[in-house]
């Protein structure tokens, strides 16, 4: 036995797996890593087909290695899933059962068809006298259950709600919550039992009930208003330090439970005056207990949720003013996360109580200019400013910020956010019909120019519609189009739109620029979209046939260079162009001279 294998065995590790991990750690190349893992999957496949030993221990070793490969994105379903299911059924001891359940929970996350085969095993484990077997089974059910499995498992999970052990009751409740998320209709009869868990003597179960009931109340806020006094009572008890200190974090009493209570309170429909007063007073007490000077995420977590709930519940003016001052103090902080929290709070207040935040735009705009490199903060500030925007003048002032934000996102390469901001700008300019059409058009064209090429298509249709409706003026459009044709490199959607704009407005002066586009396209033959070439040739033909225009030598030569094109659309356009050029006398022979 080699020294390495002996070392791995002494450490309690499978030597082959240990070797794989060491090789993966040493390699810096992603390709080498992929090859190593692919080879590992293949060797596991062969091992599963012809195992050297039929022992459960060797099966366990194989499953751990398969689990690792699956985690790294390699599919092992053809050989490992069934092994996991059989090990779940045949495991001899707690270790093997735990491993089998862990592996099954990871493998069958996608609602794999084999998860149905585990139903009987799970039913048996859910009725086990061993607490850990029940707990593991509940974990697997929560990870793998599908709508088909719910009817056969829900009774067993419901029985676990009455278990003596709080861990089982807690897991059972969250498993029922998972069932509710995937099939709310089937779980309607069990909502009452979930509500009863709110009064469980163990705080862990009560805490889990807050999480589960959040989803239930979110679906039907009007039907569960009776829960509000109970939730307020729980929050009050937490603030009075009635929970065990092990639930505290950084001096804040049970912060997760506080946040869950507040999230639940934000969902209820308007309640009676007495209950609303109790909610407001309790939330204010929670806010006073939060020490924002300690600059701790836990404190901010509670504070942010407090702000959101107070704003939604139409808290008193005094309470919200206090909140606003706290947010402004946070916004002055140098920490990015503090500013983010402040921005999130401002956005909530701006949406729910715009009267509170009016007049504060200048500070936010200054912060936007200052944080040029933090696109997330800028995005939050822009969202807050948009929420605070109440008139056309403010809307016009925001437009350059949208364009600046797009520019910084392009620098970062964040396509998803670029698309979101582009859509946001479109919605923003359309929300204010009184905005000057010139300002609107300029906004859209500037944004279009700044965006990355794949995101530009989001604005193309709107620009074309505005051009057709006359909202986008010819003078502005042609200037932009000619500028883009001169500056832009191929391939680019910007060029496509510029060509379209020139054709739409019959800009005869663009023929030279279109010639340049075709010459560039010829140089980048392999990468240029044939549709762009065909579009440019067609537009050139339309422009050259206008009164006062002619088929110049340069444009004819540029189009002729595509005569041998294999693309049908391009070949057709070239043919049409040449026919039109001939009809317009472009190829008249000069008189012979001697």
């Amino acid at each position: 036995m080699s020294a390495k294998r002996a070392k791995a065995l002494r450490a309690g590790l499978d030597p082959d797996f240990h070797e794989l991990l060491v090789q993966l750690s040493k390699t810096a190349s992603a390709t080498t890593q992929r090859n190593l893992l692919a080879a590992e999957v293949q060797s596991l496949r062969l091992l599963a087909a012809a195992p050297p030993s039929k022992s459960k221990a060797s099966k366990s070793r194989l499953l751990v290695r398969a689990m690792f490969c699956e985690m790294m994105g390699f599919d092992t379903s053809d050989f490992a899933y069934l092994q996991a299911v059989t090990l779940c059924q045949d495991s001899r001891n707690l270790f093997e059962k735990r491993l089998a359940h862990l592996v099954a929970a990871i493998f069958m996350q996608s609602g794999h068809e084999l998860s149905l085969m585990m139903t009987n095993t799970l039913q048996r484990d859910l009725c086990s006298s061993n607490v850990f077997e029940v707990a593991m089974a509940l974990g697997v059910v929560a990870a793998t259950a599908t709508t088909d499995m719910i009817p056969s498992l829900v009774r067993f999970v419901e029985q676990c709600l009455k278990h003596d052990n709080e861990m089982i009751r807690r897991k059972a409740l969250l498993t029922l919550h998972h069932f509710y998320r995937i099939d709310p209709e089937a779980m309607q009869p069990y909502i009452k039992k979930m509500k009863r868990c709110l009064a469980d003597p163990h705080p862990g179960v009560m805490s889990a009930a807050l999480v589960a009931l959040h989803t239930v109340v979110l679906a039907q806020p009007s039907a569960h208003g009776s829960l509000a006094p109970a939730v307020v009572h729980i929050l009050r008890q937490i603030l009075e330090h009635r929970l065990d200190v092990s639930y505290n974090l950084h001096g804040v009493p049970a912060p997760f439970e506080q946040v869950n209570c507040m999230r639940l309170l934000a969902l209820f429909e308007p309640l009676s005056a007495v209950v609303e007063d109790a909610i407001t007073q309790t939330l204010l007490d929670a806010l006073h207990k939060v020490d924002t000077n300690q600059q701790d995420n836990v404190a901010y977590m509670v504070m942010l949720q407090c702000v959101e709930t107070l704003a939604v519940r139409r808290g008193t003016q005094g309470a919200l003013r206090e909140v606003w001052e706290m947010l402004l103090r946070l916004f002055q902080s140098e920490s990015g996360i503090d500013q983010h929290v402040a921005i999130e709070g401002i956005i909530v207040l701006a949406k729910q109580r715009p009267d509170m935040v009016r007049g504060q735009e200048h500070g936010l705009i200054a912060a936007f200019e200052e944080h040029g490199d933090d696109t997330v903060l800028r995005h939050g500030i822009l969202t807050a400013l948009e929420s605070m925007c109440s008139d056309t003048d403010a809307a016009v002032a925001l437009v350059p910020l949208f364009v600046a934000h797009i520019r910084s996102l392009v620098g970062e390469g964040n396509m998803a956010l670029q698309a979101q901001v582009a859509d946001g700008l479109l919605a923003h300019v359309q929300r204010y019909p009184g905005m000057d059409p010139v300002a609107k058009s300029k906004a859209l064209l500037d944004a279009f120019a700044e965006l990355s090429d794949p995101c530009r298509r989001r604005l193309t249709n709107t620009i074309r519609v505005w051009a057709a409706d006359g909202m986008l003026s010819k003078e502005m459009g042609v200037v932009y189009a000619l500028g883009w044709l001169a500056d832009e490199a191929l391939p680019s959607h910007k060029i496509w739109l510029a060509v379209w704009m020139c054709g739409h407005w019959r800009a005869v002066q663009a023929v030279d620029a279109l010639t340049g586009v075709l010459e560039l396209a010829r140089q980048h033959d392999a990468t240029v979209d044939p549709e762009l070439v065909a579009h440019t040739i067609e537009t050139s033909m339309r422009l050259c046939t206008l009164p006062g225009a002619a088929f110049g030598f340069a444009i004819v030569a540029a189009v002729r260079a595509f005569e041998g094109s294999g693309n049908i659309a391009v070949a057709n356009r070239v043919r049409q162009f040449m026919e039109a050029a001939t009809a317009n006398g472009a190829f008249t022979k000069p008189s012979a001279t001697f």
Binding site: F17, M71, L102, F132, A143, H177, H178, R181, L417
Partner: protein, 148 residues
């Protein structure tokens, strides 16, 4: 969980099955690239497609959580911290190698902390006690295991 220096994924866990394995790999790749490109003083929350990504850095490891946009992001940050605290207590001063060579234990700890994507127990002591009881019961049942 991403290793900063070697840019490797150490652990992934999905609580929703809305995507195919190929889509999941792409999401992991895109999110990793986005998170690793961020500077130290930048905000720990960013938007990715229709989700929110919350991350936290511990030495050379990034812990990244993807969640719905209406979730409290600071709650996610604290859940990450709670997970790291439990790992630290369990492995007694956890380091990256503990997670590499004992990833299945890291999964088990995560399964005790989160169920169906929700925090199941907020008490660190309760989670550790449960893990210890399971471990002791296993040791009583089977004396020698070849690995793990």
């Amino acid at each position: 969980m991403i290793d900063l220096q070697k840019r490797k994924i150490r652990l992934t866990k999905w609580f929703t099955s809305d995507w195919s394995p190929k889509e999941k790999s792409k999401i992991v790749r895109d999110v990793s690239q986005t998170v690793l490109a961020r500077k130290a003083k930048m905000c720990n929350v960013l938007e990715f497609k229709e989700f929110k990504v919350v991350y936290r850095r511990y030495a050379s490891l990034f812990f990244v959580v993807g969640t719905d946009v209406d979730e409290n992001e600071l709650l996610m940050l604290e859940i990450i911290h709670r997970y790291v605290e439990v790992l630290d207590k369990w492995f007694m001063n956890v380091c990256e190698l503990d997670i590499i060579f004992n990833f299945q234990q890291a999964y088990t700890i995560m399964d005790e902390l989160l169920i169906g994507g929700e925090l199941q127990d907020t008490s660190k002591r309760a989670v550790l006690n449960t893990l210890k009881r399971i471990d002791e019961t296993e040791k009583q049942e089977a004396a020698n295991q070849p690995f793990i």
